[in-house]
Symmetry: C2
DNA sequence: ACACCTGGTCTCGAAAAGAGACCAGCAAAG
DNA sequence: CTTTGCTGGTCTCTTTTCGAGACCAGGTGT
């Protein structure tokens, strides 16, 4: 697809290592963006994240966190407390994502109404 | 999760109609972002999109386009040519997404290397 | 008559996600 | 001193989703 990236297409990206694919696919994990936006506020423990996103399964939370950690966006730190607690926090790389991601979130908030209207219109039209 | 959205949490969003969920989930469709980034360049026909993204199945392309259309981000126009051709283009709403989405794409391009390194580091560490 | 272009839809097997049980280790309650 | 609960996970099972590829209509070129 990097055919799309006007200025970037000449840099020799194939589908496989196209930055857009590589990065956006992960943000497209449905949960990743959500988790990141929570960590923008500050470090959170596993349980806190689970409570903050009630409809994520424990399994997916674990997996999402691991993926983000693997990509170097977040850091995992285990504290040897009585019930050992695990804290997740943004890495420097993760921090740098904050600005563009927040811009996107702001767009979402601003145009949410328009999208819901468009959806309703579409559904009404196809019902006929 | 809208607990996360500092300023927005008090506006009465539940999980169900939280703008972040509603919008980001769709961008998280893996293909949506890709298709949108192609349409930022200009209107494209179905076949052109399929050729531009070689590893998308026809089924998913159709579905992705329909979802984007439903959300009012793109418009579909049928031309009654000999083999009827269909052109997809951005709506005004879709246009407004261009700036924030491009910011994200720019981030992806800039930090792609760092992510790949982090990934390699992680994989090397867990292999031990 | 034949293959072929267009933009799709239908079916089927594989892969991924969700729900929920289960686990170890320790602490406080009873 | 047994029970209950908290911690952060993993394992299994079921449901959803996805990808590959066949098929379709209708017109055109050969």
């Amino acid at each position: 697809m990097c055919e799309a990236m006007d200025g970037w297409r000449d840099q020799g990206f194939t589908s496989a290592d196209c930055p857009v694919r590589d990065v956006v696919d992960h943000l497209g994990d449905k949960w990743s963006t959500l988790i990141l936006s929570l960590l923008f506020i500050g470090p959170k423990r596993f349980g806190a994240l689970r409570r903050a996103v009630p409809d994520i399964s424990q399994r997916m939370l674990t997996q999402t966190l691991r993926d983000l950690q693997r990509d170097g966006l977040i850091e995992r730190q285990v504290f040897p407390t009585k019930p050992p607690s695990v804290e997740y926090s943004l890495s420097a790389l993760g921090m740098s994502l904050q600005t563009p991601l927040n811009a996107l979130i702001a767009w979402a908030v601003e145009h949410h109404g328009a999208i819901r209207e468009a959806r309703a219109r579409y559904d009404r039209a196809e019902a006929a």
